[in-house]
Symmetry: C2
């Protein structure tokens, strides 16, 4: 008489167990209004514990909203990603909700609450490291998550991640400077806890080693991707007894900070010190001089992330594709042969 191990978990069964009607369970599944918070929770819990899966390719409610979450909206970086996501979302008739959680738990809680009340169809997290409980929450709500530019190795489980070939980019930039004839090449690093920072640094090191150039720890200065740190690090490098003839900054913004450090010393970018950045933000092309940099396909990364969440929202089970889109060295006017050669 025990029928606990029936193979099919149907909403009829859930409804009976929860003591509600079938349509009510259906409403919970589709995140619609007209369900009491308590009932909704009870049903969600049962759905989860019974491991309910949708039958066939039934009409999954058309996606209406995807969330795009940044830590901060303080960089031109962010707009590029937004453009990519908005572009795909717009075409699919889906709204893009942009948020900044500032790495605060209260802020995150507020966002999560809002996300829930408006029934978001998917979340794209940029660089941020959402706390595991937040991931768990989203899982419970059946909201798919995609990470752009993963901050850490494994966000927890099988979350799809979209990044760029940071190591290859660091390598290419450094090789470019080596080919120009530079031997003392400074490096301005990004935050060390970020995966992309470490990959860029390793690419820099790998290029130097391959060229047989000895590593000098003083040539590697810390930074945080923002302008000010580039200025500070650049100043430190230029004030060394044996200053570098070229500086590779792990972000365009830091490269512009280096520009300012160079200028303040009465030196000229390219003529006296070569500078290479990373990102290829729009202003790189319009800086004076135009910045040689490693192009990161930010818009394309946003597009791919959007396509991926929307696909997941449709119920298509993507097998967590950890994609890395190619970076590309863009040579402009800020890099030249070292002076006096």
């Amino acid at each position: 008489m025990n029928t606990d191990d029936e193979p099919r978990v149907t909403i009829t069964a859930i409804a009976r167990e929860a003591g509600v009607s079938v349509p009510t369970v259906s409403r919970v599944l589709n995140g619609r209004s007209d369900v009491a918070p308590g009932t909704r929770e009870r049903v969600e819990e049962l759905l989860r514990s019974h491991g309910y899966r949708r039958r066939g390719s039934r009409t999954v409610r058309r996606a209406e909203l995807v969330d795009l979450v940044f830590n901060d909206l303080d960089s031109p970086w962010a707009v590029e990603i937004i453009r990519g996501v908005e572009d795909v979302g717009h075409a699919a008739g889906v709204g893009t909700v942009v948020s900044a959680i500032h790495s605060e738990s209260t802020s995150t809680r507020k966002w999560l609450q809002n996300l829930r009340s408006r029934a978001s169809d998917g979340v794209i997290v940029v660089t941020s490291h959402l706390a595991p409980p937040v991931h768990a929450q989203l899982r419970r709500l059946n909201v798919p998550v995609v990470v752009v530019d993963p901050a850490t190795g494994v966000p927890g489980t099988d979350v799809p991640a979209i990044g760029a070939t940071n190591w290859a980019g660091g390598l290419a930039a450094t090789e470019h400077l080596l080919e120009l004839g530079h031997r003392r090449i400074g490096f301005v690093a990004g935050p060390t806890h970020l995966l992309c920072s470490r990959a860029r640094l390793d690419g820099y090191r790998a290029a130097l080693e391959a060229a047989g150039v000895p590593l000098d720890d003083r040539l590697v200065q810390p930074g945080d991707f923002y302008h000010a740190s580039g200025f500070t690090a650049g100043s430190t490098l230029l004030d060394l007894d044996d200053p570098p003839t070229a500086i590779f900054a792990a972000s365009d913004q830091m490269a512009f900070g280096v520009y300012e450090a160079v200028r303040r010393r009465g030196l000229r970018v390219a003529d006296d010190v070569s500078v290479v950045g990373f990102d290829d933000l729009p202003e790189a092309r319009w800086a004076s001089p135009p910045l040689t940099t490693v192009r990161q396909p930010l818009v394309e990364m946003g597009r791919l992330a959007a396509r991926t969440v929307l696909r997941l929202a449709q119920g298509e089970e993507t097998e967590s594709p950890r994609v890395e889109l190619a970076t590309e060295l863009v040579v402009r006017d800020s890099s030249a042969r070292p002076a006096g050669r």
Copy 2:
């Protein structure tokens, strides 16, 4: 027996006339699910034609989403506004939906459709000139609209608008250059169809007139706010027989284009040609040299716009405040006394 002119329009009456139950009308009013599209339209039409007003200060559904609409997301400009709106929205537990409609009617239609299906609580339009029928639609849907940086004089009716004191900013920048001793001052204009462009140009002219400096049409060059046009206009100005000793660009991005034009001629910004911009984007502080510019409180404009829509969404009838927030001249290193004085 004729009771047509009963003073109170109640949803019971609407329900009877539409041939549906009272709860159904209530659902339409609150933008909830479980109403057939046809029914919803019929009821909306009746509500509108009978001029239905909510009784008392009944629980207006808490706002969940506001829309922020740009023409294009291709400028650092946009992030600043987004930051302001997101900040206020986030604090109020409201999501910010960012869209770019690219001035296309099909794109706008798609956005409007999505906006409707997810029941947006308010719209903030940036610079864009939404077509009158779109405004009419939003009115029908009872969605409040606020305009930031109004593109044109009157968006149609009594829509609240939040701008900046563009004329005063243009005046201040020009006066600053005059005080430094410049007499030939070039101007790189923005798109002439935009209100803010014309105000900045008029401010420039007013300052010159007040100082008794004759206007020279050749010193005013057209632009479109983007880098490239600044470069072109700057080049034209510097190639004049009697080139200006200072150039005031109506946007920071164009000012950077001017930087490049100056550099390409082997000249130096500030030492040879003073340059002043408009906006005070984050990169203005970090340009080489740091740019003297007119600060526009973009984040604050976004914040105010968000507060205003949310207030309107709550039913508080703001009497269309056409606010202009103050601009402020920020003197940095790109402006100096003319050479040889």
